[in-house]
C-alpha cells in the first residue's frame, strides 16, 4: 500500500525508475499467473475427462497420469454401441435444430413488430424480459410433465421442441428487438418509396443485416436444447425419446463409479461437437450471452 510518490529514499531518479519498472513487472507477472490459473481452471477438467476417456477401465487406476500411456478408443466404441446412445444423439440433434428453427420463425416477426411499430400491446415486451426470470426451467419441470401427460404429449420430440422454444423465445425476441432497432429506418423507408411491401422489406433489407444476430440466436437456442436436462426429465420417460443429458444421467446412475472411461467418453462426445461449432462463431455468441444476461 506504500505509494510511489511518498517513498522517502527515492531522491535518486534512476532508483525510482527502477522501482517502478519492478512494480510494473510484478504486476504483469501476477496478471499472467492469474490468467494461467483461469486457463487451467477452465480447460483442465475437460482435458482430464478427455484423458480418462482414452484409457481402459483397468488403466484408470494404474495409469493415473494426464497423458495415457496406451491411448485407446475402446470407451468411445463401447458408448456408441451402448443401447440408447445413437438414438439420444439423433434426438438431441433433431430437437436442437428444431428449437433453433422454431425460435427464429417465431422470434423474427415478433421482434420486428416490437422494434418498428408503436401498437397497443407493445408493453407486452416487458413480459418477455420478466417471465423467464420469474420462471426458471426447473419450475416448469413438474407442471409441464402433468400437462403433457394430460395431453398425451409425453415422449414426443415435438413436445420437447415446443417446450424448449417457449423457454428460449423471450431472450431471442429481446435480443432481436435491440438488433432491429439498430437498423436505420431510412433504409426501409427508401424501399417503401420504391414500392416494396412489408415482406420484401424484411426479406431484402432487414434479414440480410440481421444475419449475425440470427446466427447468435440460433446457436443459443441450440445450446439450450442440447444441454437442457430438467424439462427432458419431465417430458420423456420411454427409452428412445430421451436426449443426451438424460441418457448420460442414466448412465451415471447405472454404472456409478465403475465405468469412468465410458462416462468420460460420453461427456466428451456431448461437449466436443458443440465447442467446434461455437469456436467458429464465438464473437456473435459472447455478445448475445452478455447482453441477454444484463437485460
Amino acid at each position: 500500500m506504500t505509494s510511489i510518490a511518498a517513498e522517502p529514499s527515492s531522491r535518486d531518479e534512476t532508483v525510482r525508475a527502477r522501482i517502478n519498472a519492478m512494480k510494473l513487472w510484478a504486476r504483469r507477472s501476477i496478471r499472467w499467473i492469474v490468467l494461467l490459473i483461469l486457463a487451467v481452471w477452465t480447460t483442465f477438467p475437460i482435458l482430464m475427462t478427455l484423458s480418462v476417456s482414452l484409457k481402459t477401465r483397468a488403466a484408470v487406476g494404474t495409469d493415473p497420469g494426464l497423458i495415457p500411456s496406451n491411448p485407446t478408443l475402446e470407451a468411445y466404441a463401447g458408448v456408441i454401441a451402448q443401447q440408447g446412445f445413437k438414438g439420444a444423439f439423433l434426438n438431441s440433434v433433431l430437437v436442437g435444430l428444431g428449437t433453433s428453427l422454431l425460435t427464429l420463425v417465431l422470434a423474427v416477426p415478433a421482434a420486428y413488430a416490437f422494434a418498428r411499430y408503436r401498437f397497443r400491446g407493445r408493453h407486452l415486451l416487458l413480459l418477455f424480459t420478466l417471465l423467464p426470470r420469474l420462471i426458471p426451467g426447473l419450475g416448469l419441470m413438474v407442471p409441464l410433465y402433468r400437462l403433457a401427460v394430460a395431453l398425451g404429449a409425453i415422449d414426443k420430440l415435438l413436445t420437447l421442441i415446443v417446450a424448449f422454444t417457449g423457454t428460449v423465445l423471450p431472450l431471442a425476441v429481446w435480443l432481436l428487438v435491440g438488433f432491429f432497432q439498430q437498423i436505420p429506418r431510412d433504409l426501409e423507408e427508401a424501399a417503401n418509396v420504391d414500392g416494396a411491401n412489408l415482406f420484401s422489406r424484411v426479406r431484402y433489407i432487414v434479414l440480410p443485416l440481421a444475419v449475425p444476430a440470427m446466427i447468435a440466436i440460433g446457436v443459443l437456442a441450440f445450446r439450450e436444447a442440447w444441454n437442457e436436462f430438467n424439462l427432458v426429465l419431465g417430458l420423456t420417460s420411454a427409452p428412445g425419446s430421451r436426449t443426451l443429458p438424460y441418457e448420460l444421467f442414466l448412465m451415471t446412475q447405472t454404472t456409478g463409479f465403475q465405468n469412468s472411461p465410458g462416462q468420460a467418453a460420453f461427456a466428451i462426445m456431448t461437449i466436443i461437437p458443440f465447442i467446434f461449432v461455437y469456436l467458429r462463431i464465438e464473437r456473435f455468441v459472447v455478445g448475445g450471452i452478455t447482453s441477454g444476461a444484463v437485460k
Binding site: Y112, R116, V142, R146, N192, L248, T252, S260, I271, I289
Partner: protein, 319 residues
C-alpha cells in the same frame, strides 16, 4: 429523381405526423396494415404465455389438491400441502442446505469472477483468445459438468487429490464426506456458471474510463487501491447483477447436483431442486411436488424483485 423521392418522403412524414397519438415515431410504414404488428407478435406472445405463464398458474392450482392414496382421485385440500411441507424436517433441512449451497457458490464464484475479470481486463492483446476459453464451461451441460467433476475429484485417481498430495494432503473422500460433497457440488456449479459472472464483470470493467485509473496512478494509487476505490465502485451494477445471476442459477440447479452426488451422501446435498425431483419422480406425489415448485418460484421471485429494484436504480436498460 431525387426531387420525387424527397417529395414522397415528405408526404410520408406528413402522414406520420398527422396521427401522433397512435404512431408517435411513424409507427409502421405507409401501406402496412394496422393489424400487422399484432399478427406478427401474437404467435410469440401466445407461445410464451402458454408455456411459461400458464404452467405456473396450473402449479399453484394443482398444489391445492391431493390424492388420498397414490394414483387415487384428487380432492381439494387448500393449503394442506404447504402446511405438511413446512412441518417436514427433511424439507426444512433442504431449504437450509440450499442456502449453504447458494452462499458457497456466491462466495467462491464472485471471488474468482472478480479476480479473473480484472486479469482479463488488462490483457488486451490476448483478450479474444482468453475470452474464448473462458466461455467453454457455459457450453457444457449440467450433467456433463457433474460427470467431469466426478472424474477430477475421484478419491483414487482424481487429479485434484493427486495435486493436493504434493502438499501432503491426504486423499479427500469428496463423495462420502458430507461437507466435502457439498463443496464438490459448489465447485461444479461455480465452474459451470463462472463464464456468465466473468463476462458480465469484464463488460463493466471495459466501460471504466482508463483516464480515471491513469489519473489515480499518477496521484500514487497502487493497483489494489485503484481497483477498490475506482473500478469496483464504478462496476457495482455488474457485480450485483452477476451476484443475482449466480444465485438464480444455483437456486434452480438440478442437473449438476443430482448427477454429481445424487443428493447424498445421506442427504448432505439434497437441495430444494433435488427434493423436488424426488417428490415428483421418485415418490410420485406430484401434487406435493407442485407445492415445492411454488416455494421455489417464490424464492426465485424474491431474487427477481431484487433484480428489478436494482436495475431501475441503476437504469440498466441504457447499458
Amino acid at each position: 429523381m431525387v426531387d420525387v423521392a424527397s417529395r414522397e418522403e415528405r408526404r410520408v412524414r406528413r402522414r406520420a405526423e398527422r396521427k401522433p397519438a397512435s404512431r408517435p415515431d411513424g409507427g409502421g410504414l405507409v401501406g402496412d396494415s394496422r393489424a400487422m404488428p399484432y399478427v406478427l407478435s401474437m404467435p410469440s406472445i401466445l407461445m410464451v404465455t402458454a408455456l411459461l405463464a400458464f404452467p405456473v398458474l396450473y402449479a399453484v392450482w394443482g398444489s391445492l389438491f391431493d390424492a388420498q392414496f397414490l394414483g387415487g382421485p384428487v380432492e381439494f385440500v387448500g393449503l394442506q400441502q404447504y402446511i405438511d411441507l413446512f412441518q417436514d424436517a427433511a424439507f426444512l433441512r433442504s431449504i437450509l442446505r440450499t442456502t449453504v449451497f447458494v452462499s458457497g457458490v456466491l462466495i467462491i464464484g464472485m471471488g474468482l469472477g472478480l479476480i479473473f475479470a480484472f486479469a482479463l481486463n488488462g490483457a488486451a492483446a490476448r483478450l479474444r483468445f482468453m475470452r474464448g476459453i473462458t466461455i467453454v464451461p457455459y457450453l457444457v451441460s449440467g450433467v456433463a459438468t457433474a460427470v467431469i467433476f466426478r472424474l477430477i475429484l475421484n478419491q483414487e485417481f482424481g487429479q485434484v487429490n493427486r495435486f493436493l498430495a504434493l502438499f501432503g494432503v491426504d486423499r479427500i473422500a469428496w463423495f462420502s464426506d458430507p461437507d466435502m460433497a457439498m463443496l464438490a457440488a459448489v465447485l461444479a456449479q461455480v465452474w459451470s456458471d463462472l463464464p456468465l459472472a466473468v463476462l458480465l464483470i469484464l463488460g463493466g470493467l471495459q466501460t471504466v474510463d482508463p483516464d480515471l485509473t491513469d489519473a489515480a496512478s499518477v496521484d500514487g494509487a497502487t493497483g489494489w487501491k485503484r481497483a477498490w476505490k475506482i473500478s469496483i465502485p464504478l462496476i457495482t451494477p455488474q457485480i450485483v447483477l452477476a451476484t443475482i445471476l449466480l444465485s438464480y442459477q444455483a437456486l434452480t440447479s438440478l442437473g449438476v447436483v443430482i448427477a454429481l452426488t445424487g443428493g447424498g451422501p445421506v442427504d448432505a446435498t439434497r437441495t430444494l431442486p433435488v427434493a423436488l425431483y424426488e417428490k415428483a419422480f421418485v415418490e410420485l406425489e406430484t401434487n406435493a411436488a407442485l407445492a415445492i415448485v411454488v416455494v421455489i418460484l417464490l424464492f426465485n421471485a424474491l431474487l427477481t424483485l431484487g433484480y428489478y429494484a436494482f436495475s431501475r436504480k441503476y437504469d440498466l436498460e441504457s447499458m
